[in-house]
Every structure is written in C-alpha cells, then in structure tokens.
C-alpha cells in the first residue's frame, strides 16, 4: 500500500515538474507555430543556474528568485536572435535550427560547468521526511517542490484566464494576424511568451536540481517527455499540458515499478492511446 502511495506521490511530483517545461513548449507551438527542440536546454540552464546560484547565495529559493529573471532575459535574447526568424518558416527549418541550438547549448554548458555531475544541497529547513497518512514517509523537499509547481501552475492559469496579457495569449492561439490588426505588436507578445516559457522550464530545472543532481544532457529527457505531454494535452492548451503531465508522471512512476521491462514504452503507449481516441489531444481543438 505505501509503495502505491509513494509511486503516486513520485508520479505527481515528476509530472508537475514536467508541466513547467511542457507549458512553455505548448504555448510556443500553439501561438507562434514553432517546434522548439531546444526547450529542454532551458531546463538544463535552470539546473546549472541552481548549481551556481545556490553555491553563491547558499539557498535554493534565493536561486529561484534570481534564476527566473535571468532565464527570462536569456529567453528574450534567444527569441530575438534566433526564434523570431522561424515564425514564417516551415517545421523542418524550425527543427534544424532548434536542434542546432541544443548542440550549441550543450557545448556552452561543457565550457562553463564541465562534464562532471554535481549535486545541489537541499536547504536544511526542508531536509528530512514526514509521515503521510501514517503510512509512508516522504521527503519534505519533494513536497515543497510539488507545492511550488502547483502555485506556479495556478499563477499561470490565472494570468491566462484573467489578465490582459492572458487574453492576448489566448487570442494569439486562434488568430495571430487579427491580434496584430487590432493593434497589439505581436513581436513583443511572442517575445514575452517565449521568455516566459523559458523561465518556467528553468524554474523546473532550478527546483529539481537538489532532487536529481545536475549533469550534462539533463534537459534531453525532459524535452522528449514534454513533447509527449504536448501531444497528449493538445497543442497550445496549458490545461491539457497540466493534465497530460500528471498522467505521464503517474504512468512513468508506475511503469518503472510494475512493468520495469517496459518502463521506457509506457509513456509512449499512453500517447498512442490518446491519439487513437482523440487525435487532437485531450484538450486540443482538432
């Protein structure tokens, strides 16, 4: 029983982290029509920022507070330098350029931080475990990570549903030409969306670092899993990404325990099942 419970917790917590990466990926694809293969690199950026900033400041949450604006500026710069040239181009060109960016980011990572894996300390006030439902003990830090992800997810939903910029984001998903014709400079809107997506992925990398350890290529599995989540949830749907990420997290956690020999395919089997029943994804419009 407490194995099941532990796997549920692990699955949800992993799913929530994946959501942070997948939400930006789905918005960039839904609004700007860009397939961004380098999105996992921003998760990696977060993990290494976590390493450096935590060694400087001594606290993971200070690193998060500093890392998010750094990632935002970095994302805005990458959009301006590279991504904006892809909006009018086809998917092949998008995939080529953003794959090239992965190689560049990996090389930069090696030059700056080296290839040695590192670990980031869990803050002392969140170390240890608590007993949950009197059944199992679970690390406090992982619970804090899940809580933080939920807060970020709620904040994002609030922004998208209730604010002016959120209205622009939703409108951009259905008709970006009309957004521009109504007087909104879509260059700035797209830069904001991209940079916000980068910050969210980086935030995931930052808070996950004390759980996972930090190593080269840490973003690659995140990218693949996020792409699966985007497909399952429906392109452009943040709500879909949320549900999809939790499903994937649970499937992954239970797959590892109960079908270890098929662990790596469970996630794709889930994607296939969704595509067969709902080709546009769970919350897609297709």
């Amino acid at each position: 029983m407490d194995l099941v419970l532990t796997q549920i917790f692990n699955g949800l917590q992993y799913g929530l982290l994946i959501f942070l990466a997948a939400s930006g990926l789905t918005l960039v694809l839904g609004i700007m029509g860009v397939i961004n293969l380098s999105h996992g690199s921003f998760y990696m950026l977060g993990a290494y920022l976590s390493l450096t900033l935590t060694s400087l400041t001594g606290d993971i949450f200070l690193s998060l507070a500093l890392g998010i604006p750094i990632a935002f500026l970095f994302g805005a710069a990458i959009e301006w330098l590279f991504i904006r040239h892809l909006y009018a181009r086809d998917h092949l060109q998008q995939v080529l350029l953003t794959f090239g960016l992965i190689l560049v980011f990996n090389e930069l990572q090696r030059m700056i931080w080296g290839t040695f894996p590192h670990s980031v300390p869990i803050p002392s006030y969140l170390s240890g475990s608590v007993k949950i439902f009197g059944l199992m003990s679970y690390p406090v830090y992982r619970i804090a990570v899940a809580g933080l992800c939920i807060l970020l997810a709620l904040a994002m939903m609030f922004v998208i549903q209730r604010t002016k910029i959120g209205r622009m984001i939703r409108a951009g998903e259905s008709n970006r030409e009309m957004v521009e014709v109504l007087g909104i400079d879509t260059r700035l809107l797209f830069r904001f969306v991209f940079a916000a997506g980068v910050s969210l992925a980086a935030a995931g990398g930052i808070i996950a670092a004390p759980i996972e350890s930090v190593y080269p290529g840490i973003g690659e599995s995140v990218l693949i899993t996020s792409l699966v989540v985007v497909v399952i949830g429906g392109i452009g749907s943040v709500r879909g990404a949320f549900v999809g990420a939790l499903l994937i997290g649970l499937a992954d956690a239970f797959g590892k325990v109960y079908l270890p020999q098929f662990a790596s395919v469970v996630v794709y089997a889930l994607m296939a099942a969704v595509l067969v029943t709902r080709p546009g994804g769970l919350f897609g419009r297709a």
Binding site: M168, R170, A171, N175, E177, E180, V181, L182, G183, D185
Partner: protein, 237 residues
C-alpha cells in the same frame, strides 16, 4: 481644402510574382463613407490589406492622417486609428464576447466621444444578451456585430469593412446596414466592400469600382447609377 483621412498614392502590390494592384490611387475624406466594388478577384481585399499594412505595397505610398504609414506594422497602423474588419470577421473563438470587445479597447484621439461597452450594447442589444458566451458560440450575424463592436472599441478614425454582409440572412443584413449608418453619423469614415450594389448605393455617397487591380470608376451615387454600361461590365448586373 481638407486633406483625406486615408489615401493610397500609386500603390503597386504583389503576391510573390503576381502583380495585383496596379498603380492604385484611392482616398477617403474625413467622415466619408466610400463603397468599394468589383467582381471576384479584382483586388478589393488586396487594397484593404495594403492599406492596413498586412501586405506592403512594393511601390507607392499610404498616407493616414497626413503621415506616411507605408510599410509600418499593422499594429502601429491600428493604434494610429485605422480599424479593419476582415471578411472572416476574425472573432477569437476562445474569448468571450466581452473579452473580444475589450481586447483592443483604447481611447480615441478626442475628436468624438469614446465608444464604451454600454454604447456597443445599445447599438447591438444581442451582444449584451450574449456577453458571456464564447466567440464560437455566436451565429454568423452576431459575429459580424461583434467584429463591428470590437472595431469601434478601438475608437478609430476610419473602419475598413470587407464583405460587410456576406453570408447573412436578409434581416440581419438590414440590421448591419442600419448600424453602419448610425456609425457613419458619428463621424467615423468608412470603406465598405460588399457584393450588393443596391445596398451600397443606398449607404455611401461615393463609390469606387475596381477591375483587374485598377480603379475603373470613382464617383458619386448619381453618376454610377446613370452609367449602365459600367455597371453591366464591372458589376455584373
């Protein structure tokens, strides 16, 4: 002599290699409603898209309120006071009626009282009833009304309206024409494209007819009505 609110000066617009607009001169005076006519594929939509910045004329100039806006971004041109309602209405399906209306609401330049939600709702009571519905839950006629309301909420100096009543039931058409009269009476200039000659003759004082990317007629209702050959040749009636 007053200056036009909007003018195209000898514009040539291309789609790729196809030369679509061929040296078009076009102007709209303040407060004026102009109808834009012509058979299918003659370049009416392309002219409107060139005026709002969605396509850039290769040569020639677009002047709006005295400023050269050729090649500016559509968002810049929109904020300068030019509103465009495309043929497909461009309603955001995943925004509610209120959200569509307030999406781009901004104050005008103070020459006329600003449009508010209340004024839009009294112009279109139907929109008030449906204010919390999603854009894609509206009928075609309601979407047209919403697209007009949304354009008005930007408090423009001029509205370019492509295919104003296409695909609407006769009753709804009459409603749209009546509204456009009310809007014109507030002093907003307008360019209206439609297929229905009689309705346009009743709406506008000046009419511009396009054929193969050129302007073949520019004159008053009286002159156009009298020119049966031109009507037959270019408007197919």
């Amino acid at each position: 002599m007053t200056a036009p609110v909007l003018a195209a000066e000898k514009i040539n617009t291309y789609y790729g290699h196809s030369h679509i607009l061929r040296g078009v001169d076009f102007r709209v005076m303040p407060r004026e409603t102009v109808s834009l006519l012509g058979r299918n594929g003659m370049g009416k939509t392309t002219l409107l898209r060139s005026l709002v910045g969605l396509v850039k004329p290769r040569t020639g100039h677009v002047i709006f309120n005295g400023a050269d806006i050729t090649g500016n971004r559509p968002s810049f041109i929109a904020r300068a006071g030019l509103a465009f309602i495309p043929e497909d209405r461009g309603i955001f399906p995943n925004l509610t009626v209120i959200e569509n209306l307030t999406f781009a609401a901004r104050p005008g330049r103070g020459t006329r009282p600003d449009w508010t939600l209340e004024r839009i709702y009294s112009l279109f009571p139907r929109l008030a009833e449906r204010r919390t519905h999603w854009g894609n839950e509206l009928s075609g006629g309601e979407q047209k009304m919403l697209s007009i309301g949304r354009a008005l909420m930007t408090n423009p100096d001029i509205i370019l309206f492509d295919e104003a009543t296409e695909g609407l039931a006769p009753k709804v058409r009459d409603e749209i024409w009546a509204t456009l009269r009310q809007v014109a009476a507030t002093g907003i200039a307008a360019v209206v494209v439609d297929k229905n000659l009689d309705d346009l003759l009743a709406l506008a004082e000046r009419h511009v007819v396009m054929a193969k990317g050129e302007i073949v007629f520019d004159g008053t209702t009286q002159v156009l009505k009298a020119d049966e050959a031109l009507i037959h040749r270019h408007l197919g009636v």
